[in-house]
Amino acid sequence: MSAKAENANITAIEDEALQGCVPVLTKEKTYKFSDAFFFLASYGIATWNYTQGAYIASLVGFKQVLITTIFGSLMVMLIFQLPTILSTRYGIDIWVWLKAVLGHNGVKVVTIIVVLVNLPWHAICCELFSSSMENLMGLAGIEQNSQFVHVLLSLLCVALGVWIAYRGIKSISLVTKILTPVLLAVGVIVIIVGFTSAPIDEIVNYVPDAIKSGEAESHICYVLAVDAMMAFTFTWFAGMGGIPRLTKTEKSGYWGAVIGQGLVGPFFVIVGAVMAISMNYVTGEMVTDPTLMLSKLAFPAMGLCSLLLVGFANVGTNASVSYVYAVMVKTSFHRVGYRTMVIILNLYIAILCIWGQIMDYLGTLLTLGACMQAPLAAMFCADFFIIRKQKMSLRAGFEINKNRTYRYTLGFNIVGFICFFIGIGINLLIYNPFSGEVNIPFLFNFTPTMCSFVGTGVLYLLLNSIPAIRKYTMKDRAEITV
């Protein structure tokens, strides 16, 4: 290898700790609670929060919006975020541990599926960015109806996110430290505008049209609202280990995520709900575009705040997501460089933006994402705390010296996959999200997502209590070295 190539390789290896798959040692960790909080809050704040807010507001009244949004998200985050203490402890992403649950090849397959299902959310963000910028142009007197320009604006959102992510974690951290407080401040302004545009009574006593007209049953709508927030929160599962691996203490990584994503994210869902309810009162339509809302309910110049709420928020989210997903996928594809991975992931988002139909699949994506990630989170929690008692073979996780302990059957842990598919089935059996039919009313009360989570976890524990199965899944016990 030439000297230049060798130097490049050394730099690439050094990069791999912060932006890749190499474990981060205690002395290398630099993140405090505030760093984790700002980064993950930025991840949690995106335009889809407003769409989610409008959806929740179409199901339940204002008080129930607050309850379902905050506590539906918080409860789920508190539980599934717990095993990320392993990311801090061993400096690894959760997907290294998940090789014990799914098998070495199983993790490759599942991470690719998760990317295919989750990243379209970011194409939706880019679409909403484009629409909002067009509305902003409209306020400035520039009419924009060209589909070509619409796509270009979407791609601008992608490009800006890549530009920040490409520079690495330090660049993203700096941006999120500035962005998150500003977005929080603007979120508060939007809520104030919302509450002052309509009589407070109208907002606090708001009842969705479908319930007022008797078209929908309030109890079913409440459960759907709780389930929607839980599903929304579970879609963050895949990227949960990327930042805690950098934090100095287990609690800073954990609480940074729970408060950053589990509370700040829902705050912006509430912002979306307040916007939708106020706009419904003033205009008769539940609009969630902050540009239109701020210009209509406040004064046109306030529409510029949407530049922050939509523009910068989505760019910040795309940058944060590019990092956590690049780290996640690199767990299985070690040799691909971080920057190359950022480009590949964003190429996928860009293709979806050019296709332009992704908005039609918003509900399907939420359903698929939650259907998959709730069972994964359940197995992860059960495996980490009960089955493996917080100990795994790191040498097997990284296949050091061709260690094949987590290869199981052709690289797949059959037990893990049986539980995974049954978990998905539990969700769909209880409630059909495509037809809106409640198939098992008793279990529906506990929400399909939570039933899937608990059911998968219990099944995984039961199967692993059978001696023959335990022998299959627990071959790593003799190799525990840390």
Partner: protein, 54 residues
């Protein structure tokens, strides 16, 4: 592409560092934190159930 052997060597050296008896792991999640989590989960559950009756 990163050199595969160099990457594996780097990962192995980090694991070996963690395997040393004097390696200091990050401060652990304390019992107090687990209790706070449990209280918050139970409180959230209670509020969600109560919210159904609003």
């Amino acid at each position: 592409m990163v050199d595969k052997q160099a990457l594996e060597n780097e990962i192995l050296s980090k694991i070996e560092e963690m395997e040393k008896p004097d390696y200091e792991f990050p401060e652990r999640f304390s019992k107090k934190n687990y209790i706070i989590v449990l209280i918050c989960v139970l409180a959230s559950m209670g509020i969600l159930i109560g919210g159904a009756f609003l």
